[in-house]
Structure formats: C-alpha cells, structure tokens
Symmetry: C2
Subunit: 407 residues, 2 copies
C-alpha cells in the first residue's frame, strides 16, 4: 500500500505560507496580488518538477496533468491558493499541496493510474479581493461569462483582467478544458464540529447555500448636536438596525441558519456628524434552500422598511447567490470506506463554507474530505490543523483517487 | 450709527473658503493641516492690515488686539477656522471674519472704544483631527494642561505639538493671556430651528452638555459559514446592537436628548469573516445635566451587558465630557435688545453644538449670536446662510460689542 509523506506535505504547506506571510504569523495573499503571483510561480514550478503538463486558462486557473496509462478525462484534485487578508497556512492550500503530494507519491513509486490525474488551483476562491468568491471555478464550469469575470473590479481598484495580465496569468487555455472525470477536494473543516467531537475525517455530503448582499443606505450628513432626532436621515442607524435585525432573525429561526455582517462602512465616519452613507454586507447560509430564501426575503423586507422609517434611500446589490449543493453519492461512499479501512473515525457533515468543489459538482461527480480545524478557527492567522490530521486526510485522498482513477 | 459692510464680510468668508476648498464645493480644513496653515497665514495678514497686534500662544490660538482708549482687558470676539472633513464656508469662520469686519468698520469710521477689542481664533475646535474638540479654547481657560494637549495624537498619526511646529504656530505667548473682559461669538445655528420658524437672530442662552465616548469591542474573527451562531464572539454585532440600543433609548427619553453613532469601524471588515474588533463612537447631548448623565449611564450599562452576551471584551474611552453651560444674562439681554431695536425677529434658544464660547464662559462673561442655517444643514458642504442673515448677525455683534466695550 502506498503512503503519502506527511512531513513532505507539511514542508510544502510551510514553504507556500511564506508568500504573503504576515509578521506575526498567518498569510495575507489576496487573489492576483504580488504575493499570489509569487505563490503561483512556486506552485507551477512544483508541478513541472513532477513532470506534470501545466496549462493556465483565460481566467488564471492553473491545471497540471499527470498522464495516465490511457488518454481519458483526468480525475482532478484541487482547491485554491489565494487567502483572506488575515488567513492561515491551510485553507485552500491543503487541497492543492495534498494533490501534488498524491502525484509525488505515485511518481516515486512508479505507479501510473488508468486515468490521468490533474491538480488544479482556481482563481479568487476567497472573494476577499474580487466578488463573487469561487470566481475562477465558477467561470470554469460556465456559471459566469469570462468577459464579465474579467471586468470584475478589485476592492482596491483594478480590474481582474488587468491584474491577470499584470502578474502574467492571463493564460491561453480555454476555460473549462480539459473535461474532467471527477473532482476531489481535501480541505480543513474551518469549523469546530470535527475538533469538538474528536473525529479524524469529515465525509462531506454537500455545501450550504450562500447568499451575499450589499446594502447601501443613503441619508444626509448633519450636525450631531443640532439636528433633532425626528429630523435626521441617519444612514448609519438604518444599517446598524438592519444588522441587529438579521442577527435576531436567524437566532429565532435556529436550525443552522447563519447570518454575518462582516463589513460596514460609514461616510463621513466622524464622531459628531450623522452618517450620510452606510454600506454593509450580509452573508446568509443554510443547507436548506427554502429556509435560506425565507431569511433572505425577511432581510430585504426589513431593510426596506427600516430605510423608509429613517428617511433614507436603499440600494441592494447581490454579490453571491449559490444554491445548496449535494456531492456524488458514490464518491462520498468511497471516501468513507477508505477512511474506515484505515481505522479512522468519520462523520458525515455538510460544508458551511463555499468551496470550488461545489462549482465542479455542476459538471462532474465531486466530493470533499475534511480534516479538523483546532477550535474551528478559520480565516484567521491562528488557523491550525495538526500534521497527523493533514497526513490522514491526504492518505484518504490518495486511496479514493486511486480507486476512482483505476476504475 | 455704524454699519458693517455685508459684501465685504461675504468676500472675506469666500476668500477664506478657498483654503482647503473641495472640488464640488465646501471645505476640508482639518486642524493644523497645510490648508489650515494657509488659512491662518491669510487671516493673520488681515489682522495685521487692521493695525491689530497679533499674538500666537503655545497651543496655536491666535489673538489679535485692537487698542482701546484705555489699557483695560479687551472685549473679545472670535471662533475657529478649522473645519470638519466635509465642512462649509460659515461654521466658525463667520465668528472670526465678523469680528474682523467689526474692527474694520470702527477703524474706517475712526472710532476707538474705551476697552480694547480682540479677535481670536482657537485651535482644533471641530475635534475632527484631534480629540477632544474645542481643544484650543479648553487649554486657554485652563481646562486641559498644555503639555497633555500637545501630546494629543491626530487621527492620521502625528502629535498636535509636532503639527504646531510643522506649520509654524507653536507660539511664544502664554496660554490664557490676555485676560479678557468678555467674549462674543457669532455663529450659524447649525440646526433647523431659526430657519424653520423664519427668525432672523438667535439669542443663545447656553450650550448643551456634550459627552463623547469610544467603545471598542474585541472578539474573535472566524469563518462566516462554519461558525455556529452560538459559538461566535462577534465584536461587530455587539457594537451595532449597542448603537441600535442607544438610538432606541433617546427616542424613549425624548425631551431633546440626542445620540449619534457617527463613526464605526470593523476589523478585518470582510464580507465572510466575523469581525474581531469593532470601534464605535457615541455622541450624547442634552441641556439637562442630569438627564445626560442618565443616558450616559444606560449606554455604558447596556454596552457592558451586550459585550458579555456576545462573549467579547469592551474597552471604554471618554473623548469629551462637557457640562451644560449658561451664558451671561446681561450680555444675552444686550444682544436681544440690539436685535429688536434693529427691527429683527429674535428667539432665545440653547446651542446644540459645542462652541469655544462655552469654554470662555468659564473665565469671563460670554454669549453667542446665531444666524439661520438653511434647512439646518451643517458639517456638510451644502451648509448655507444667506448674505443678508450674515450681515444682520454681524450688525448685532457690532452693536453689542460697542455697548460692552464703551461701558
């Protein structure tokens, strides 16, 4: 039986983590920045060193193929290597580095699978610099026109297409090529469930639906000391009340409905000036599409009513809208079986976060493997998964991919 | 009878408004910036051209004295020439330019008052770059030690003392000199009361108490999709709930109690990351010291309770704390009498905003004259007072100052 090398996998994650490393630990590697370019260049060099054929497509997705004994659609492994502004070593990176470690293990043992293997990393999964998130894989599966994606503006100004050219990742390959047999993604859970239950392998059944919206309230700036409360048009208060409402709402709803107001900005943002404008985001998630739709409808109804009550205007922009996704039953069963055969504890669970796998699931059978995140910490410089858990996840990935590629 | 020249007053306001002028109208002249330096230099040149003796004190207050027939403490007029980031032509500037117009009118007519006249502008009245607001006049009256004031850090980094040196306004004069007989401040109302009632002159009886606090909530950043609601430590939600609470509170309290959350910042401020830190300000005002104290106590009690409920830490910083101020009864009566003698409509009212006059009231008789603000718009580039109203206010100032200085 083949075994992946946990230390080698860990080394590759730590080397990759040096691109965009933050002084106090953690990584800031927003999509298509200089740090992302450096990380891409290094990863591509790793791929080439494994005799993989590397192609870059027009949205900057990188797909490296390791030939099989037959010229069939490859079994793909992958994820992303961009991070949030205060990210860790594992989110996304693990799926890519574990894919390369699987290829490295096979190559070292001189093993060729029947179907080719591919390792991919997709552009702008995090959505921290360009919206929507999972943009590269969304374009790959035909969910967003290439031209529209290239016109997406970064939070710091430039267009996505300009940034691809700037860092040299405006590739020649057509998006959506090659057609793939199936897609496996190993990822940290990014939540507390496995860690708290002491479970080694999460067998992911699907992904929550995700809805992101930006609400922009426009009122009138005025003096905080001379404007009676009833004459105000306070955009900030309308936004903050809407935030409090949605938080109350999901707690009343229960059942795993999530809501997050992670971003809010006031203008002019001064202590003694009533805010003329307030821009906030709301992130809603649920595995149940109907409940998610209900939360979304109540949010928008309240925001409109609140805007009216405060005498302010409301503009709504949908930033992301993904229905819940179910993964492939056969691949799920295979992952679970290989984990159990290796004596590992398993738990079937949904993914709370969005992943490239949910996009790939639109065009091929797809599945995910989770390993624990200590304390569920994620999108945080303190994100951590012990090396033994990383190794277990990569080993299950290897076994499941071998079975799939040799069938 | 002497008459001020309204057109000349207007010209001086418009010239002053060119320093820090914003492209679309309005003024951005934060205290001790390059724009403030240019405005100070121009104003000092105007003072010198009127044969006034100019002194700059150690906190950058500028006081120009026009000699009287006797060497007595001067009757002072003044205000400030710094603005908020999105200010207008009139706030503060009117009090200084009208003071100079009074002196100009007397000088042109060859009139000397018994007591000297002084025109002053005080450093950092707005509090938009350094906190607390009304800093220069506060130091002038001994309410804040000079050394502490010089160590105040700007929102953009440098210390106040460094900025005074940089722009050449670290003056040699001792703060609090000269002792003054009395202080008059002409100002736009910055509120809607006079404009809505069609009143020409506001006779200001006193100033609301002002309390500013910064509340900083510290929680834990985490993934918006994988962290169950009950396991979150969401600093942003604690802040936004506290904002909604204080808004509800003052509406329940009624009676002129004001509350404004003008500034709120989240970290890391990303759509899919629970905020680790939220920093907000609350501005509370009331003419009734007891009611203001009650609002303040309820705010802090709720914020603490809310922090605990969200599992986040709370740090509180008091940025400003000024008790309500009553102006001098004799000066109030004099202003009212001169306005009525000129056939103008008057209304006694409190000031909702803080003004340098409330500081001067600690050391000498003080009073203020208000002119209408169209629609009550203030701290806004659309701030506007018609020229005729500016002229009426300056004329009442002239008459009241003449009476006071010749008594």
């Amino acid at each position: 039986m083949l075994h992946i090398d946990t230390q080698r996998l860990l080394d590759s994650l730590q080397t990759l983590g040096q691109f965009g490393a933050l002084p106090g630990g953690g990584v800031n590697r927003l999509a298509l920045t200089d740090a992302d370019q450096a990380a891409r260049d290094w990863t591509v060099a790793q791929m080439r060193a494994l005799d993989m054929q590397v192609q870059v497509d027009a949205i900057g997705n990188v797909i490296a193929t390791y030939a099989g004994s037959e010229d069939l659609p490859p079994v793909m492994m992958g994820s992303h290597i961009d991070t949030v502004r205060t990210g860790g070593l594992y989110d996304g990176n693990l799926g890519v580095m574990a894919g390369l470690e699987v290829v490295r293990t096979l190559r070292q043992a001189g093993v060729r699978t029947r179907r080719p293997l591919a390792v991919a990393f997709f552009t702008n999964e995090e959505g921290a610099r360009f919206q929507p998130d999972m943009l590269g894989s969304l374009v790959y599966v035909g969910g967003l026109p290439l031209e529209q994606a290239l016109q997406t503006r970064a939070v710091d100004g430039p267009l996505l297409g300009e940034e691809l050219i700037r860092i040299g990742y405006d590739g020649a390959a057509q998006v959506g090529q090659p057609a793939v047999d199936s897609y496996f993604e190993l990822h940290i859970e990014q939540g507390p469930v496995l860690d708290q239950a002491g479970i080694q392998i999460g067998v992911v059944e699907g992904v929550q639906g995700i809805y992101w919206t930006r609400l922009t309230f426009s009122g009138k700036s005025n003096h905080a000391g001379t404007t009676p409360m009833h004459l105000r048009r306070d955009a900030g208060m309308a936004a903050m009340r809407t935030a409090a409402f949605v938080h109350d709402l999901v707690q009343r709803m229960g059942g795993g409905q999530l809501a997050t107001v992670g971003s809010l900005e006031l203008e002019p943002n001064l202590v003694n000036v009533i805010a003329a404008e307030a821009s906030m985001t709301v992130d809603l998630r649920n595995t149940d599409a109907q409940v998610l739709a209900a939360a979304r409808a109540q949010l928008h109804a309240y925001a409109m009513q609140c805007a009216t009550a405060h005498g302010v205007q409301l503009q709504t922009q949908v930033l992301a809208d993904f229905a819940p996704v179910a993964f492939d039953a056969e691949m799920i069963a295979s992952i679970e079986r290989h984990a159990k055969q290796a004596g590992l504890s398993t738990l079937r669970l949904p993914s709370g976060a969005g992943h490239d796998a949910q996009m790939l699931a639109r065009i091929c059978p797809a599945a995910m493997i989770f390993v624990p995140s200590v304390d569920g910490v994620s999108h945080n410089v303190h994100e951590y998964t012990p090396p033994a858990d990383l190794g277990r996840g990569a080993q299950v990935l290897l076994q499941a991919v071998l079975e799939r590629a040799n069938r």
